[in-house]
Symmetry: C2
Subunit: 109 residues, 2 copies
DNA sequence: GAGTTGGTTAGTCATATAGCTAAGTATTGC
DNA sequence: GCAATACTTAGCTATATGACTAACCAACTC
């Protein structure tokens, strides 16, 4: 559980990997196609892909000499859910603070 | 921009720090109160708090000898927004795939 | 004003991460 | 079957991260 979120968030804590996620939202792509436009050596880029795959955010399959990478919907949802759960708790608290502030404002005047 | 999300996601990529965020949703708390229940030396714990503060997720103020830490709503929203933007793009694609699958299913039978 | 409490700073260590080059393997195309 | 393509593996380096201890400072409390 905990470990899942660890690798999930740290996978997204890098601009290269977030860019790959954004590319893959358009649809699956080959490693070399994803690599184009990223100014780094291929082995370095492959390590980023491995991080994404280990986190469960993407999967890949090899056909012939081409490896195709694809987003994995469930993983993205797990992270979004964490946010939803905590954001709503937080916003509930904000609302209470806002009401308190209103109250103080009214009673002062 | 990019840098903001980097530090934001890596701040959340650690169970101790996520636990602190969850504690702080209940309301502000002193360093020592937050530290209770986390089985690690205080200096180590302080570094985690610094990471959270550097990421903008929390702020802190010192009064007398007590430092009080507090969540920062805007920062949480920035991350949630990133998710919302990309999740919806992704889910749009899922819907298209589902329709395609339906179509293929129908035409085959 | 001496001791306790709450936090801070400094310094060490081990492991992880992000980058590189160089060399290797396995398909595909001519 | 030889060359080009598309990764893959191995091995190196530098920096970042997460943990610790020890020693320190500042502010309450007797």
């Amino acid at each position: 559980m905990t470990n899942q979120l660890d690798s999930f968030f740290s996978a997204l804590a890098d601009p290269t990997r977030r860019a790959v996620v954004e590319q893959l939202i358009q649809g699956p792509a080959a490693v070399s196609a994803l690599h184009d436009g990223h100014d780094m050596a291929l082995p370095t880029f492959l390590r980023h892909l491995k991080v994404l795959e280990d986190s469960g955010l993407v999967t890949s399959t090899k056909k012939g000499r081409v490896r195709t990478v694809e987003m994995q919907p469930k993983a993205l949802r797990a992270g979004a859910d964490w946010f939803e759960a905590h954001k709503s708790m937080w916003e509930g608290r904000i609302d209470r603070l806002a009401r308190l502030a209103d109250h103080l404002e009214r009673t002062r005047t």
